[in-house]
């Protein structure tokens, strides 16, 4: 992969990362779970063992791998097109706005 190709897929990576991340949060697609109280790790989504489980690290890894895969898949589509810079910030911006909506319950209790 040359510099030009990497340049073209970076906006796709950012967009895919934000999108996959928010879906991972909503669907709980964590690649692994951390149990902080007992300092143990587990594969995929695990229920609480002792104390609350943490999925954030797992969501980050799911999103990174998913976005990397989406970027590679998008590469042939971008071959004769300009770098879609807009994609890399418009999608994350929409995801940021959606976060306020998705987490509104905390403020309505």
């Amino acid at each position: 992969m040359n510099n030009n190709q990497i340049e073209k897929i970076i906006p796709v990576f950012s967009a895919a990362f934000a999108l996959i991340y928010i879906v991972s949060v909503e669907m709980n697609w964590a690649l692994f779970t951390y149990h902080p109280k007992i300092k143990q790790w587990g594969w995929l989504v695990e229920p609480a063992r002792d104390g609350p489980p943490m999925y954030w690290y797992g969501w980050l890894v799911t999103s990174t791998l998913g976005a990397a895969a989406a970027s590679v898949i998008a590469l042939p589509l971008l071959k004769n097109r300009p770098t879609p810079y807009w994609l890399g910030w418009v999608v994350p911006l929409l995801v940021i706005l959606s976060v306020f909506y998705l987490f509104r319950d905390w403020f309505l209790r």
Binding site: F13, A18, W56, L60, Y85, W86, G88, L93, I96, F103
Partner: protein, 153 residues
């Protein structure tokens, strides 16, 4: 040790806050003259901040991720018992924003790498989004760090 890391996390966040704000102001409100404090603040070279912002964002996010389990086990449980749900929700939002920011770091690097007119709007948008994320995370972190004082608990 965790107290030291939390303070370090906060101090580096202050540095990042200053750096990204300086860059964002210079992007949206540039000035050629350096006469006076405001003009001098606006007339900095925005590009000079990019690498520092990337490194600081990574270090602050990593430190936050490292000390996060302490928050999850002890602080969040405490706040939920105290029914401080908006505070918990604010941290949840902060956590998502930081993650989205991490995913945007490569784009931030790319749009600042060279002065390409095609990426000018993306450069402004990404910088402002990072500025918003950092400010939001800083304020939420600061409030939660002092939550007992804020709510007289």
């Amino acid at each position: 040790m965790s107290t030291f890391l939390l303070i370090l996390h906060g101090l580096l966040a202050v540095a990042l806050l200053g750096s990204i704000t300086h860059q964002a102001v210079a992007v949206v409100w540039p000035a050629r003259s350096k006469a006076g404090f405001v003009n001098a603040y606006r007339s900095v070279s925005s590009r000079a901040y990019v690498n520092a912002n990337i490194v600081l964002f990574l270090v602050v996010a990593s430190l936050g991720g490292y000390i996060y389990p302490i928050y999850r086990v002890w602080v969040r449980t405490y706040m939920e018992n105290a029914r401080l749900f908006p505070a918990v929700g604010s941290f949840e939002i902060k956590e998502q924003f930081i993650a989205i920011g991490l995913g945007m770091l490569p784009l931030y690097w790319l749009v600042w790498r060279r002065p390409d007119p095609a990426s000018a709007s993306a450069r402004t948008a990404v910088t402002l989004m990072f500025c918003f994320i950092v400010w939001f995370a800083f304020i939420v972190g600061h409030i939660l760090n002092n939550i007992r004082g804020f709510f007289g608990l």
